[in-house]
């Protein structure tokens, strides 16, 4: 499968804005698209959906040309589905009506159950809260059989509580899609837990593309410091300790404890560790509340623009990253090759849900 997008288009707006893209987009798993407001994220999705007609742009999906020099396939004939920023429910139809109206849509009963809409099904959109509306929009988009999923900041219009409430459902929908998902968002925490791939856009260009942690580490962009991704470690699940509500994992010879039960994540658990939550110690610190102490070897030291030092560490052949002050780095006399210990509070750890 492949998704090729190629072309330049002047959106004719003022100040002038040009979308200029030549990329093969990932066609497996979940691709997060981030970038400052107005960088062209929505424009890119609209292009893929065929909502804006720019024929000098070429889009080819799975060997199928959706648009090109003399080809134009209108949006309703593309095998896509999309969840927009605002729910855009049809105001004249009830929740049930909104679900049923999808041409060739799947089983509405299933969707109602899955998205917890049973009690809302007779209500009209103007009687739903923002979060409920977005939930219906997700269910509706889910009903359409599609080969490419797109989400354009589906949680952006919600308040923090509603957002926290809905985020797991969105993540679950994305994973369950079983099709490539392109997920545009401003909220990094929202997407980094589930993204396999990160696209960073700026001024109509794609300026970064790859695994989230790599992109974040190597991109000089105002968003980079906000991408608190740190690193992701692949760990083996050992067992869940019910009495402390902690899961015990293992990386190399060291134990890693994380909060909650991650048994259902499978044998391998990916743990996301923000760089600022990693402290370093020259000797094994005894008798502290820090549960996770990993023996590591320094591979690299770099100074970040804000004066902090980023320390790249080798941990059982995986990379872990720490952010510390220059004073600490000096005092500890850190240098490449030195063998030290990384301390990570377990309350700071998040399993990646994928």
């Amino acid at each position: 499968m492949s998704l090729d997008v190629r072309g330049t288009v002047d959106l004719g707006t003022c100040p002038q804005f040009k979308l200029d893209i030549d990329a093969k987009l990932p066609t497996a798993g979940i691709t997060a698209v981030i970038g400052a407001s107005g960088c062209g994220k929505t424009s890119l999705l609209r292009l893929l959906a065929g909502l804006d007609r720019h024929e000098d742009f070429e889009v080819e999906f799975d060997g199928d040309c959706w648009q090109g020099a003399h080809v134009w396939r209108p949006p309703h004939e593309r095998p896509i589905t999309m969840v927009p920023q605002h729910p855009m429910l049809f105001p004249h139809l009830s929740v049930l009506g909104n679900l049923r109206c999808v041409p060739g849509g799947g089983d509405t009963h299933l969707a109602i159950e899955r998205f917890g809409l049973a009690s809302l099904s007779r209500r009209y959109p103007d009687r739903l809260s923002g979060g409920e509306q977005q939930r219906v929009a997700l269910a509706r988009a889910f009903l359409k059989p599609a080969k490419l999923w797109m989400l354009d900041e589906p949680l952006a219009s919600l308040d923090p509580i509603a957002r926290a409430d809905l985020a797991p459902l969105v993540a679950q929908v994305c994973r369950a899609a079983g099709q490539p998902v392109i997920y545009v968002t401003h909220s990094l925490t929202e997407v980094l837990q589930i993204a396999d791939h990160l696209l960073v856009m700026e001024g109509g260009h794609i300026i970064g593309s790859g695994r989230p942690e790599e992109v974040a580490a190597h991109l000089d962009h105002p968003l980079s410091p906000l991408i608190e991704v740190g690193t992701i470690l692949d760990c083996t699940f050992v067992r869940y300790h019910n009495e402390h509500d902690l899961s015990e994992l293992r990386i190399g010879d060291a134990a890693i404890w994380i909060r909650g039960n991650v048994e259902d994540h499978g044998k391998m658990v990916r743990v996301q560790i923000p760089a600022r939550d990693v402290a370093l110690a020259s000797t094994h610190p005894a008798d502290t509340s820090v549960l996770n102490v990993l023996p590591v070897t320094i591979t690299d030291l770099t100074t970040a623009p804000n004066g902090d030092v980023t320390v790249d560490l080798d941990c059982a052949d995986q990379t872990l990253r720490a952010r510390i002050t220059t004073l600490s780095a000096e005092r500890m006399r850190l240098g490449p090759g030195k063998e030290i210990f990384a301390m990570i509070k377990s309350v700071a750890l998040e399993p990646r849900r994928d």
Partner: protein, 221 residues
């Protein structure tokens, strides 16, 4: 009530009903085109549609008369097709009324269509609605109140129309003599008592329809 009044009332009511029905078939697609197109010819079409608003009805009636007479284009075609002449028939009145009331129906509907949330149509597109399905299943029901308002205005306006009917309908009792013409006749005949009654009926119908429509429209919004 005298038979003249009853007869005119019947003609008026059926004219208004048929005209409104024709308008409601014609205008939504036209209004949708007007609301959406960026074609450079749109302002001209818009002006043409609005023309009956500003043209004296007698001018319009005069040209419609020329147009629908047996030597006119439409009248000629009609004659060839049906073997009858068009001018001074009820059908002619319907055509004239449709032209005359067009802006009253098309403008509020187009104005409402213009407010269509584009995101709603985009959402429908990506869900697989064809343009035709979008129009019939989203646009029309979403703007049902504007459609109603247009229909009521068109109906009321057809009831009140005068200049055109006078020109192209003549004043044939039971066929083309509508209430407004009856009123004109009564004033001409110095029959002021009847005139006040007819005018009162017209006024009442108009005022009641308008008041209820406006009250309904605002209550809903």
């Amino acid at each position: 009530m005298n038979p003249d009044l009853l007869q005119s009332l019947a003609v008026t009511a059926s004219l208004a009903a048929i005209t409104t029905a024709c308008l409601m078939l014609l205008t939504p697609p036209l209004a949708w085109w007007l609301a959406r197109t960026r074609h450079p010819v749109r302002p001209l079409v818009e002006a043409l549609v609005a023309l009956p608003l500003v043209l004296p009805p007698t001018v319009l009636g005069f040209y419609l008369l020329l147009f629908m007479s047996r030597d006119g284009i439409l009248g000629g075609l009609w004659h060839t097709a049906t073997g009858e002449s068009l001018a001074f028939t009820f059908s002619a009145l319907v055509i004239g009324s449709v032209v005359y009331s067009l802006p009253f129906v098309a403008q509020p509907i187009a104005a409402s269509f213009r407010t269509t949330e584009p995101g709603l149509l985009d959402a429908a597109s990506v869900l697989g609605f064809s343009p035709r399905q979008r129009f019939l299943r989203i646009v029309l029901p979403v703007h049902r109140r504007a459609l109603l308002a247009g229909a009521v205005l068109g109906f009321a306006h057809t009831i009140g129309e005068f200049g055109i009917v006078l020109m192209i309908g003549g004043n044939i009792p039971g066929e083309t003599r509508v209430l407004s013409i009856l009123l004109f006749d009564q004033v001409e005949a110095l029959n002021y008592a009847s005139a006040h009654l007819t005018a009162g009926i017209l006024l009442l119908i108009s005022l009641i329809t308008l008041t209820f429509t406006y009250a309904y429209l605002r209550r809903e919004s």
